[in-house]
Amino acid sequence: MRASLLLVLLATTPAAASPPGASSCSGCHGAPGGAVPSLAGHSADDIAASLAAFRSGARPATVMNRIAKGFSDDESQAIAAWIAGGGQ
């Protein structure tokens, strides 16, 4: 049941593309161990919460506060879900 539902969802998923803005993240965020934090292994909720905190200024940053302001809450959540799902 679950597998067949998955196939139906896949077949009707319209876009090949990542959600708007998502594919740019890997320009800075790479493998673990660097100065810029890796996004690997973070949940969608974590990433979305970080983006919201950067956007509001609650979390201090160098560039992420400037970048997060370019995305709505819905867009941020879509990006977070895509990255948490292994997108890069």
Partner: protein, 423 residues
């Protein structure tokens, strides 16, 4: 169901039903059929080839060079802060991942027949072509500055032999010598690059040739990260770096590589070392393909990066007229990904969704002193425009810790992006 809702459900199902890496990739190219040729193996083209190949499409990357010399951080090489080897990248990993490489150059592109003629005498047919050719230095724009003059007065605006030449000349500068750096008007590759170069040359002079001077002659009055650069120059390089904007007569009108002089309408400067960054345009293959307009650059659709002039050819990177997006390695990489995904959609008969793209550019004004500019872009009124309220530069009043942190992030960005593209 909303788009987000469907994605969230899909992501949840995927996590439950399948090992994670198995899901999204093969699904990407679903329904997409066709041959894609990518011309140019820099940050834009190599990225696009990777994304297309990962999605399961047949892609050929046309690139004659075995070594790619990266421009970001090459100003550090010029200032003796970094070995040239740190700028060298090859295509072995890309080849090993399964991307087909044609180690030759594209000589002509027939947009009507959808065929690329290669320098080795063969031809490649395509359904979609992604052109990421980079820039050409214009040797017809500044009187006295041609290819021969560039061997005496390097531009070093394409990394490689020119970078090493300028580094050697700087190392050989006589005590008390004068360096002249000429900066062109917009648009050109890497908007903050000339000012980073000025900064790091000034740092070199300050630490190694303290009686020498740098004169920066600029064909414009405003530039990227201007307040941050000028604040740093005043603090770090007083009496060393003399900046002459357009309004003060900074536009270079001719050079003489034999006499080693650089002339403006007001003054002729005698240089011991002259670095001339000339006006630029898209690389010649863009004109040959008919995708460059009278400006010398390539107008594109901001959703798909498809040429406004020739259907079936997409243009990314420095050659494209990307609206508010600067001509940077970060931008080329972001565009390569978005364009490749759009090409996949188009080959599958789907309309690509309007994208958003990010750019982040770091500059070093001294070792351990970094500044940045960031932007978020979206299609608006037919061009890529700034998303209002986002982006901007590092704060002018940031403490030293932030400058140090941004210098570390700059280095990390370089490591990450070059690994993503060439690793």
């Amino acid at each position: 169901m909303t788009r987000l809702g469907r994605r969230a459900v899909l992501a949840g199902l995927a996590a439950a039903a399948l090992p994670r890496p198995a899901l999204p990739r093969p699904a990407l190219a679903q329904g997409a059929r066709g041959r894609v040729v990518v011309v140019g193996g820099g940050f834009g083209g190599a990225t696009a080839a990777r994304v297309l190949h990962r999605a399961g499409l047949a892609v050929t990357l046309v690139e004659p060079a075995e070594t790619y010399w990266a421009c970001p951080f090459s100003n550090e090489v010029i200032a003796g802060l970094r070995p040239m080897s740190a700028q060298a990248f090859g295509y072995d990993a890309l080849r090993a991942s399964g991307v087909t490489l044609a180690r030759t150059s594209a000589e002509a592109i027939d947009g009507a027949a959808r065929r690329v003629r290669l320098a080795d005498g063969t031809a490649l047919d395509y359904d979609r072509l992604i052109l990421s050719p980079g820039i050409a230095l214009r040797f017809d724009a500044l009187p006295g500055y041609d290819a021969a003059a560039a061997e005496v007065m390097p531009h070093a605006w394409k990394a490689g032999a020119q970078t090493e030449l300028l580094a050697r000349q700087l190392a050989a500068l006589p005590e008390g010598g004068t360096v002249v750096l000429s900066v062109p008007g917009n648009p050109y590759r890497c908007p903050p690059g000339p000012y980073e170069r000025a900064s790091l040359i000034a740092h070199y002079l300050k630490t190694r040739k303290p009686r020498a001077k740098l004169i920066v002659l600029d064909a414009k009055d405003t530039f990227s990260k201007q307040k941050l650069f000028q604040q740093a120059w005043a603090a770090l390089y007083p009496g060393i770096l003399d900046y002459v904007p357009l309004a003060a007569g900074g536009q270079v009108t001719s050079v003489d590589a034999t006499a080693m002089t650089v002339a403006t309408d007001f003054e002729t400067y005698k240089a011991d070392l002259a670095c001339i960054i000339p006006p630029q345009r898209a690389a010649p293959i863009a004109s040959a393909a008919g995708v460059a307009d009278r400006s010398g650059w390539c107008p594109i659709d901001p959703v798909t990066f498809e040429s406004r002039l020739v259907p079936g050819i997409h243009v990314v990177g420095d050659a494209a007229i990307a609206g508010a997006m600067p001509k940077s390695a970060f931008a080329a990489n972001a565009q390569g990904k978005v364009c490749a995904e759009a090409v996949i959609d188009l080959l599958a008969g789907r309309a690509p969704e309007a994208p958003k793209l990010i750019n982040t550019c770091y500059s070093l004004v001294a070792p351990g002193y970094g500044i940045s500019v960031a932007g978020v872009y979206h299609p608006a009124n037919g061009v890529l425009a700034d998303v209002e309220g986002a982006g901007g530069t590092s704060p002018v009043d940031a403490p030293e810790t932030v400058r140090r942190q941004e210098a570390v992030y700059a280095e990390d960005w370089y490591r990450t992006i070059t690994a993503a593209v060439f690793g």
